[in-house]
């Protein structure tokens, strides 16, 4: 993933993102961390055909259907230094029937658009593109978290020797002071 990301890259990452993570990020905007209030403009579930463009054939071939949930939010926006007051939008498109993730994604999408809309960065996690995009992939997160189960006794031993040495030196210092 190349950062800074454009909106299409952000939407791709969020569509693949972990539902729980995206939900919590969206919830944090509702509670005021990077606040934008969203109205649902569109929320729908449906089957779409998946076509693959095969250059050798010169036409697209339908290989199947998938279920999608799409959400478009209309967000309050009082204007900024660069934009007059108007409504703004957030977008969510997710695999399967998941209104919760689609709505959450559109809130996060909207919050991440602060720069293009001339809003201030308030330090809210959801406004931080690198933070959100680098940590929303649950395959990566799960793998890295669960690797803690693997043995680490070599680096633990190194840390153990260091702590023993520091404690021994601290002990000598304490005794010298008494």
């Amino acid at each position: 993933m190349e950062l800074p990301a454009d909106r299409t890259l952000r939407l791709q990452a969020l569509a693949r993102g972990d539902e729980g993570f995206v939900l919590s990020m969206a919830y944090s905007t509702q509670r005021g961390y990077g606040r934008t209030h969203a109205f649902v403009g569109e929320l729908r579930i449906g089957m779409v055909e998946v076509e693959v463009d095969i250059p050798e054939l010169g036409f697209a071939v339908e290989i199947g259907e998938i279920e999608l949930t799409e959400c478009e939010t209309v967000n309050q926006f009082k204007g900024s230094k660069t934009e007059p007051p108007q409504f703004t939008r957030g977008y969510g498109l997710v695999l399967g029937q998941s209104e919760r993730k689609a709505i959450a994604m559109s809130l996060v999408d909207r919050a991440l658009r602060w720069q293009e809309l001339g809003e201030d960065f308030t330090g809210a996690p959801v406004q931080d593109e690198e933070f959100v995009l680098m940590h929303c992939d649950n395959i990566q997160a799960t793998g890295f978290l669960e690797h803690i189960k693997l043995p680490h006794y070599v680096d633990f031993q190194a840390e153990l020797e260091l702590v023993r040495k520091l404690r021994a030196e601290a002990q000598v210092m304490r005794e010298a002071a008494e």
Partner: protein
């Protein structure tokens, strides 16, 4: 290290699992890494049939390096018989049919073997976090700039603060090195005991980080310097014992609790090295004659 011999790989897999186009892309990244020692080359990391964080980067680098004549060794924590090493070795036996002794390619997690490597060998490291500055600056966008500008002041401040607070540099593994006077590099979480072996090594050293999508390299005979200060020079560290099985005085040791009354033994973390010494008649405090 057991000699399982060369086995035919299952026909369903391309040699070493990855398709040839992917291997080419990884080889390009490796070549770029070798051309710019210590520089982290972004690459299009593939999803592997194992979790991120379990060696997906190392596995992809190994897959891109392997040829059918290779003999592959896989170690984790220095040992041939740890779960991650066994799984990865089996994976390549199944998908590449490569024998695993007298290695030409060694994939490792957290150690450099005790036995000096030789010209013609490739050592592949599994890397969890390739960025040495990550714990000082979490943003990749910032750390890439810092490398570009050779702006390593933050790292030296961190090392200085360690000395001010603890009287010494309080980093015991993944100890950062400077490569040929240019890039600061994370050697992966090897104990700092292994750091001197990074420098001037006749083998090719390749580092693969799958989740973070980075490859970097040390070509043979590259000079690396463990960061330090003139008045606080870098020192290696290990448990102050000999190996209880083979008596080796200079190998890196694991501490093993043997009972619930503070009984413990210290044994070589490099199982192959320890076994070889015992076979050669060396016996430690708790060892038995072979």
């Amino acid at each position: 290290m057991s000699d399982l011999g060369s086995r035919p790989c299952a026909d369903a897999y391309n040699f070493a699992y990855l398709d040839e186009q992917t291997k080419r892309r990884i080889r390009r990244a490796i070549l770029k890494g070798i051309a710019v020692p210590g520089y982290q080359v972004p690459f299009a990391s593939r999803e592997m049939p194992m979790p991120y964080g379990w060696g997906t980067g190392g596995v992809q680098v190994t897959a891109a390096c392997l040829v059918p004549e290779d003999r592959l060794k896989v170690i984790d924590q220095g040992a041939d018989d740890t779960t991650n090493a066994v799984s990865i070795r089996r994976f390549f036996q199944r998908t590449a049919g490569v024998a695993t002794t007298e290695a030409t390619v060694i994939q490792t997690r957290h150690r450099i073997p005790e036995t000096p490597l030789t010209d013609g060998q490739i050592l592949v490291y599994q890397v969890p976090i390739p960025e040495p500055l990550r714990f000082l600056e979490p943003r990749e966008t910032e750390t890439r700039k810092m490398h570009e500008l050779e702006e390593y002041g933050l790292m030296h401040v961190k090392l200085y603060e360690d000395i001010a607070r603890h009287g010494q540099i309080a980093t015991s593994y993944a100890y950062p090195v400077k490569v040929e006077g240019r890039y600061v590099m994370d050697p992966s979480p090897i104990p700092k005991f292994d750091n001197p072996k990074l420098s001037g090594n006749p083998a090719i050293q390749l580092f693969g980080a799958g989740r973070e999508q980075r490859i970097y390299a040390l070509p043979p005979w590259t000079e690396t310097v463990s960061l330090d200060f003139d008045d606080h020079p870098f020192r290696t560290s290990k448990a102050p014992h000999d190996c209880d099985l083979c008596g080796a005085p200079n190998s890196y040791l694991d501490e093993v609790i043997t009972d619930d009354a503070s009984g413990r033994m210290f044994v070589c973390s490099d199982t192959d090295f320890c076994t070889g010494r015992r076979a050669g008649g060396h016996i430690g405090r708790l060892g038995e004659a072979a």
